[in-house]
Symmetry: C2
Subunit: 419 residues, 2 copies
């Protein structure tokens, strides 16, 4: 497994101009989204670029929850700019878009589908070398600053998919908790749920010794290798931080300790799932986001409907872990305990229910919408949701328990209402 460089600390963003000088960067592409372009994180970066006399162009047209179209727009900008370094300031949407822009600008004759995950795209290995990318996360969720993954919504197919290659992992992640202070409540909550699910899914993923096929040549092994003793450390540690700090971070924007810890937890969980992988909550979340109808979440300053990624993963989590627990019940019980359940008298065979109940209580306490029904889905949508999950086998096959289409149906159905 491989882990990228990260630098952590309040205010470390101010060094970014120096980092770019050290990289001898002469034409920098700065990516962000429209909302963030007016906020302190982008400001801090601009100040440092000015101080160190870095020549750059800004692209602030990133779409929140990116699509193939929005990726292509950013790629066009990157190709034209002939940049020698990239800086992404934002949440997963910005960092992922920047990874794609860097990749395709570095591989200008490639077709967009070439690097998109199979079976939707061709899933070709990346052999070109990319320009350095410095990622400055401003949410506490995706861990994208540590992963080789870039996710987008394939509009035509109404399904989310992505690009996964170690080659697109950022050169450096700058984890500066000051950036979390401007996040509104729901963005803290939803991105925090992403951390929660990264941790839970990577901890319960199929063990790396059981994944198949296991290509005999190490170079052909996927980034997502199944749970392993190293990703377990990261997953558990991130889960403990979520248990201790997520509620505080959501409820009190002034709670710097809580927000700083969640910001680190996001990177920790990213390192964990970036090596182990995620499974059903994520696999099922892609159609939940892709098929969105009219849902407009509070606190998101955007003009299109969207189901925020963290919300789309967490809504199925009680059903998913009730389903998977029969494989590693002790890990499910351990997770429930970390999240606050009293397991002194618990029976191991109830591990799934206990974790599911614990999650429901956790979500209720954080005012999460009451299931898929509350964000606009009904029973009639289940076949489409299932159909959208099937091509996500890159992740769903990492579920410890294999699933039939009927199982997926039942999981969506059980997630319609939570409380």
């Amino acid at each position: 497994m491989a882990i990228s460089n990260i630098r952590y600390g309040e205010g470390v963003t101010k060094e970014i101009g120096m980092d770019l000088q050290n990289l001898d960067a002469r034409r920098v592409c700065l990516m962000t989204d429209k909302n963030l372009s007016q906020l302190p994180p982008v400001n801090a970066v601009l100040n440092s670029l000015a101080k160190y006399g870095i020549n750059f162009q800004m692209y602030d047209n990133v779409r929140v929850e990116p699509t193939d179209q929005s990726f292509l727009d950013a790629i066009k900008f990157a190709k034209k700019g002939e940049f020698d370094a990239y800086v992404a300031v934002g949440g997963g949407s910005v960092i992922d878009t920047c990874k794609a822009a860097n990749l395709y600008a570095s591989s200008p004759t490639s077709d967009f589908l070439d690097y998109v995950n199979a079976p939707i795209g061709k899933g070709k290995p990346v052999t070109v070398s990319l320009k350095p990318l410095i990622a400055v996360p401003t949410t506490s969720g995706t861990g994208s600053e540590t992963t080789g993954v870039a996710i987008f919504d394939f509009k035509e197919l109404k399904v989310k998919t992505g690009i996964a290659s170690r080659a697109i992992k950022p050169t450096l992640g700058i984890i500066d908790p000051l950036h979390t202070l401007s996040m509104p409540e729901r963005i803290v909550a939803n991105s925090g749920f992403d951390v929660l699910c990264h941790a839970l899914e990577s901890y319960t993923a199929l063990p790396y010794t059981m994944r198949s096929p296991c290509p005999s040549n190490p170079i052909s092994r996927p980034a997502y290798q199944g749970s392993n003793p190293i990703s377990d450390v990261w997953a558990l540690h991130a889960l403990r931080i979520v248990a201790k700090y997520l509620k505080r971070a959501v409820r009190n924007p002034e709670d710097r300790e809580a927000r700083a810890n969640m910001h680190l937890a996001s990177a920790f969980a990213g390192i964990g799932f970036g090596n182990a992988g995620v499974h059903l909550c994520h696999g099922m979340s892609y159609p939940i986001s892709g098929l969105v109808k009219t849902y407009k979440p509070k606190d998101y300053n955007v003009d299109h409907s969207l189901v925020p990624h963290g919300l789309s993963v967490v809504l199925t989590s009680p059903a998913v872990f009730a389903f998977t627990a029969q494989i590693h019940p002790e890990r499910h019980l351990e997770a429930a305990e970390i999240l606050g359940a009293d397991i002194r008298t618990a029976r191991i065979k109830d591990a799934g229910f206990i974790l599911a109940d614990t999650l429901r209580k956790f979500l209720f306490d954080l005012n999460v919408d009451d299931g898929l029904a509350a964000i606009g889905y009904s029973k009639a949508d289940i076949p489409a949701l299932v159909k959208g999950t099937l091509p996500q086998e890159r992740v769903t096959k990492l579920s410890p328990r294999p699933q039939t289409e009927e199982d997926l149906s039942a999981l969506f159905e059980a997630s319609m209402k939570l409380y």
Copy 2:
């Protein structure tokens, strides 16, 4: 912080031929020591090289506890061979020697002192690019497969020092617990003590926010940054494994679970201290090893006197942590608890004594020599031991509590007898 690639699993060594093919390696340098060249770990590598038709030359002249002379001999071999990849199969002695050989063969006009840590050498930054190095550890101790450090004994000065640069960190560490099965008892114990001290020292090192000077340009910051939230995760995790498995691993060569866990713990602690640093046990260990008189440890199949590195660090550990505890007493107490102390009624101001007692008991249980006196030192040697510690400021300045020469004297004196 940066972390190298590692691959973990029983038998994963058999893929090394493929790794070298993937690197397009045509002239490989295989390094090991004389003892290991007859043992299963080297055999496993040779089989894989043969299977994949890898062209290589073997150097088995590595000195256990290397010296400037032995480094130079390996460097000469490397320069002559014009290799395009390196494989190190062994403990820290082999891996460190191989790092140095790769470095100086890649920088052929450099003087040996150029890269040696200041103030002993010039401590120049490495700007040349090195060949890939795959490290296959066979002890469970140094974590050298994950660090940018290479240690040697500077004979003329009678002091151990080293080379520290991210550039010499191995490209890949192959952590194959099968290699631990041939380790005799004392090698398991001594290399395990190295893990113990890496974990304890990096967890109690000066916090990264307090280290000074803190060069304003990130590129000039040292690899050893002080304790930080990320190295803490690794240190604590490694310490828990040591507490649970070291005694079992020492006592029973058939206990695969214990030996495998210690093999991973060695890498975990390496990642931790490779970023945070170590402090007094290590700083004081260098003269303890460097000034060795006639001590010949059991189970070491070598013809010169030596104090094994792990033993040289652990003998001062009770005195050191009794001394440092006034700075982070809660961390010292936590470490004692992890190592088995009952701290329910403990007072925080006794943290240092409690940890020291816990360590003494731990060492007694593992039949460790009764202090520096038992390995040939007397009071008369203390001035020389102190003098040998002074140039180790690269690490000693990471001690949470600053030390005077008198303090160092007292620490050596307190370490003469343990039980």
